[in-house]
Assembly symmetry: C2
Homo-oligomer: 256 residues x 2
């Protein structure tokens, strides 16, 4: 039976403090929960009667039937779905220099909006980017809003929270470090490397000066037409997507 | 003085019904309000004492000083800013066939999320796209969340809400109509036209079959590497951005 204490436990996981203490996170809805189930250990799953009858063979530690009223209490969504589950947070193996020599990785310097972070994790997955390094003040990847926005991509992309300055000062020599700047070079006129780091900054303030110091390739996504009055910048998830798409387009055009 | 009735009026504008009846919309924060002020008529502006002292020459019909407590009541934001303003909604001139022969326009078929719509308006502006045609069930461009996400781009991009099937059945012959599909052609292997329509669909269901019927160029944004297990799709604003960036990249490479 889903006791009051269990409901209290689930709702407590909306807070980062409790998620971190327990080393767990919440996921909601048949699609997102179903995408995560094969990869991460599920400690507790609360499904409506209908959900449970449709999913008879669930590999989870504990299963509870949940009423609409209880779901309303537990859910972090405006419109609660048919299932809410508690998963064990993965612990990524520390990022090796080898990975940066072979793959493109994303670095986030203070991205604040959970929706933006979730969208970036989802698009990283689409473009085969397996590692995202986050400054300690970047939004928590295990916040409910982020998990819902990743649409299951959280199982294929490792998030590394770290002191960014310390991390950047310790990367191997010769790794290309990219960042987008209004005064950068037109991304479409540059040959992009298949490996390295792509740093994206905070929604309002961009990349911190102490992080900028490590960037050796400044990129710029040109507006159209050049020089016209336009928005001052692009949303950070949009800019990340356009950069990643261009890295991959060039790789595709070089290798075919 | 900001009467109770005026506060009630402002809060009522969170609802589409009242916005449409009055033909107005809300904008909040010095940045967004400041970006809109030169372009749209401002019927009422409520600023904190500090905001008003920093902005002595405002071209608005009515100005009120607003207290923190009143701002809390009126604001649609989690963290209210220093100003909230009521603007007249623009009435776009109907889209002519000429525009579609000369420019790239975006068509939205049931995009539901206000954040996605706002982000699409902002990126359209970045890429010099002046017209977005929206199905009647697309999110309202004048909803507070959309206005905040556009970051002022709403003044440079015209939104046309219409019966999409009727609109598409009446466009001039020979207009390229693009849409993204998992079974479409690799966008990086195609020559894209500088003009035409780019149709993007609903977050969950994509483009409606009756809209698909008008698409004569099916595009696909390839994941990387090809054939690997990845997210099933990209967020609609992300996919729009990647497509628009590629349309503009090709235009830039052809003309230089």
């Amino acid at each position: 039976m889903l006791t009051k204490n269990k409901i209290k436990y689930i709702t407590s996981l909306a807070k980062k403090k409790f998620r971190d203490e327990e080393g767990v996170f919440l996921a909601e809805g048949a699609k997102v929960v179903g995408d995560i189930l094969p990869y991460f250990r599920c400690l507790m799953l609360c499904g409506t009667k209908e959900y449970l009858s449709q999913h008879p063979e669930l590999k989870v530690d504990e299963i509870f039937e949940i009423s609409e009223a209880e779901l309303q209490k537990c859910s972090q969504l405006k419109t609660p779905r048919d299932v809410i589950a508690v998963f064990r947070q993965p612990t990524p193996t520390p990022l090796s220099g080898e990975v940066m020599r072979e793959e493109l990785c994303i670095v986030l310097d203070g991205v604040q909006d959970p929706g933006n972070l979730g969208t970036i994790i989802r698009l990283a997955d689409w473009f085969g980017i397996h590692h995202i390094i986050c400054s300690e003040d970047t939004a928590d990847a295990f916040a409910p809003k982020v998990i819902q926005a990743t649409m299951g991509a959280i199982t294929r992309v490792a998030l590394h929270y770290t002191n960014l300055t310390r991390f950047l000062s310790s990367i191997p020599q010769g790794i290309p470090v990219y960042g987008t700047f209004l005064e950068g070079e037109n991304i479409y006129g540059k040959t992009l490397s298949p490996n390295g780091l792509l740093i994206m900054g905070n929604e309002g303030n961009g990349i911190r000066p102490e992080t900028q110091a490590y960037i050796n390739q400044k990129l710029f996504i040109p507006p159209h037409p050049a020089g016209c009055e336009t928005s001052e910048s692009l949303n950070v998830a949009i800019a990340t997507a356009i950069c990643c798409a261009e890295f991959r387009r060039q790789l595709h055009c070089q290798t075919r």
